[in-house]
Point group: C2
Chain length 405, copies 2
């Protein structure tokens, strides 16, 4: 018999309680022992909930209960969640979380505490929601040099971009729909500005390259400037626009890291990841391209990943996972000015005026007073220089990176 | 320092030697110890190979060398491979394999020996080539009731079906091309008749449902009867034809299991798995749909999966994986006559003649002397009955299952 506590009875926390209850037989059979939910900590009242008898408000009850082996942290944020996680680990309890903000910003410290206490801090649900990615990256591809991680890591923005194309919506209308459907929060900043995706690409890079990549050091660009016109021009050339989190290894061992919208070719498997789904592509020097696909968020899907970690922690009570990262990764990060890629532009001019500034690799559309095109591949620094010239020559309406081959 | 031996220096075995050598630094860093290839067993001579000094022909050298901790079996087939695997396990060595035939037919017995000896028999590479699937299914989704496994499990047939559509080739021409490119063997029977996919869906079902599903008990239909016309009619209706290995759980706990070509809608993520790639979709009652994508075969991709198992075996020398299945699964298999799905037909007649036999859900195309259509969903038994009537009424040119919603 193993007993657990859940911190925070929001979407994910209540999903964990629900799935654990519903699938208890399956879980017990696979674990070869019972898994019991003993406490749920939340400041709010849930007197009508079927879990009302487990609700408590005082964390020290959990901290001081020697029966609790695993604490599930689904509070979110990096304040109370940080305090409780630290206290739970220090009291010798495994901690399982879906909290990407906390893992991305405090993971190094929390993993060190877990190591010192010979327990585990686990976060399969922090990236890609239900998608198995942390464990596969660590346990299934360890014989590879990982050359690239490239993922659609945020379901909200992918839903918005999908709806823009499929339902001909402007960004603001697609965002409104996402809010109505519960895919976007009332304050959607962390999603639409790319911060959420940034935390996730940092966690994947931390894990892969063994260093701590802090979100604030990574170039992050959201999707708020993408217009319906851009999506339509992209489609006419066989491209879709996706918000990608990327870490790309250079031959010298440095990494290009970024979160930014990209035009990607329809032939790329990531192009088919639609709505609120996530997709994560890993390129290794032995495995070539592998991709993982599934729901990036949601109550029960995220609970599936959380419970996998809980079961793993129980099954291997005395075994430490080989998961850690040490020291800042800042010196591993390459200057994005050296990264070479094509650029998409929409400008207030006919294509005739572009020739002096850029070689056009693909003209996507042209009307008397505007045109959209993809440039030859150039370095970030060169693009910056030519953008200045382009702005002088005709006025730039949009610019979006194009995923290089 | 851990020492290993490879049995069989074919495509996969030589890939393991190559990747292990090339990525030795990465592997050593992740393992925190050296991994050394000590022997390669093969009856053939490889005197010019860079691994010539490791070549031996006598298995008992490996069996009796206490330094060898892990044996990699990449001989294939279920004869010598079976004998050597059994002897290696009995002598207390972990065995890692890519041999789906052996795992599907003798897995139960070999896993029992491994259990008795407190060591591991591991086979991540036996399904989906490089794709992480065995470990994710076992370790990342254990809190789910798995409702369906549906996969493109054979790269050769997927390459052929892709080429038929993309290059307008008849089956025989696409098969010829697959042979020329090394995607199909000289005797392609096991691939094109579905036997290879059948072994793989059996392994995934064994693992998921804990019973032994033997390939000869599973309905298996290959792709040799698919014509270019069928592929074109399917495309005109927004479908692609894919060879699927399926296990679908009924509410009563029984499984529909089969390998058969299916028309699947272009909206299904499996529709985008092209060429020699594999894709495996898992549906769980918490995770919903997750999909895994990657190269289903090939020297280095398969070696990536083999080496993940080798590293796992070394890292957890004394820990037994919780992998086993016991007892025949035959009584869990549901009668396919009860399975309800639509059917695609191409017949020698206009659609006017069909009405008496089938309700047409979607007419895909019609000429004076032939038509192609998709029926309403009916049970396998009803389809069988109506097929007889259809044959009498007009002559059936093709019939293919349609993946139900």
């Amino acid at each position: 018999m193993a007993k657990i506590a859940i911190l925070g009875f929001g979407t994910v926390g209540s999903g964990v309680a629900e799935v654990l209850t519903e699938n208890n037989d399956i879980i017990e059979q696979k674990l070869a022992e019972k898994l019991e939910l003993k406490y749920i900590l939340d400041v709010r009242d849930f007197s009508g909930s079927p879990f009302a008898d487990k609700m408590i408000k005082d964390f020290s009850v959990i901290e001081n209960d020697p029966e609790i082996e695993v604490v599930v942290e689904t509070i979110g944020g990096a304040k109370i969640a940080y305090e409780f996680t630290k206290r739970a680990l220090l009291s010798g309890k495994h901690v399982v979380t879906s909290n990407k903000e906390l893992v991305a910003t405090r993971g190094e410290e929390l993993l060190q505490i877990a190591k010192d206490k010979n327990i585990n801090y686990m976060f399969e649900a922090s990236v890609g929601g239900t998608i198995p990615i942390i464990r596969p990256l660590k346990d299934c591809l360890p014989a590879n040099r990982i050359d690239e991680i490239c993922g659609i890591l945020n379901g909200t923005t992918n839903f918005i971009l999908t709806r823009m194309i499929k339902a001909n919506l402007e960004f603001s209308d697609a965002l409104k729909e996402a809010k109505e459907l519960g895919y976007a929060e009332q304050d959607p900043t962390a999603d639409i500005e790319g911060h959420d995706a940034c935390r996730k690409i940092c966690i994947l890079s931390d894990l892969t390259y063994g260093r701590n990549f802090s979100p604030e050091s990574v170039y992050t660009e959201g999707i708020t400037k993408i217009t319906l016109e851009d999506a339509e021009y992209a489609a006419s050339g066989g491209y879709v626009i996706k918000l990608l989190g990327r870490a790309k290894l250079r031959p010298d061992g440095k990494l290009y890291m970024m979160v930014a919208p990209h035009l990607i070719k329809k032939e790329c498997p990531l192009a088919y990841i639609e709505d609120a789904f996530n997709g994560i592509m890993i390129k290794g020097n032995a495995c070539d391209e592998v991709m993982f696909y599934g729901r990036g968020a949601g109550k029960r899907p995220t609970a599936s990943a959380v419970l996998a970690d809980v079961m793993d922690a129980v099954r291997h009570r005395k075994a430490r996972k080989n998961i850690y990262w040490n020291g800042s990764g800042n010196d591993m990060m390459a200057d994005l000015g050296e990264h070479i890629y094509p650029m998409y532009y929409r400008v207030k001019s006919s294509s005739a005026k572009i020739g002096g500034v850029y070689k056009i690799a693909c003209l996507l559309g042209e009307s008397p007073d505007e045109c959209a095109f993809i440039t030859e591949p150039l370095s970030g620094n060169e693009h910056k220089e030519r953008l200045g010239l382009l702005e002088k020559a005709c006025g730039v309406l949009s610019k979006i990176r194009v995923l290089e081959d």
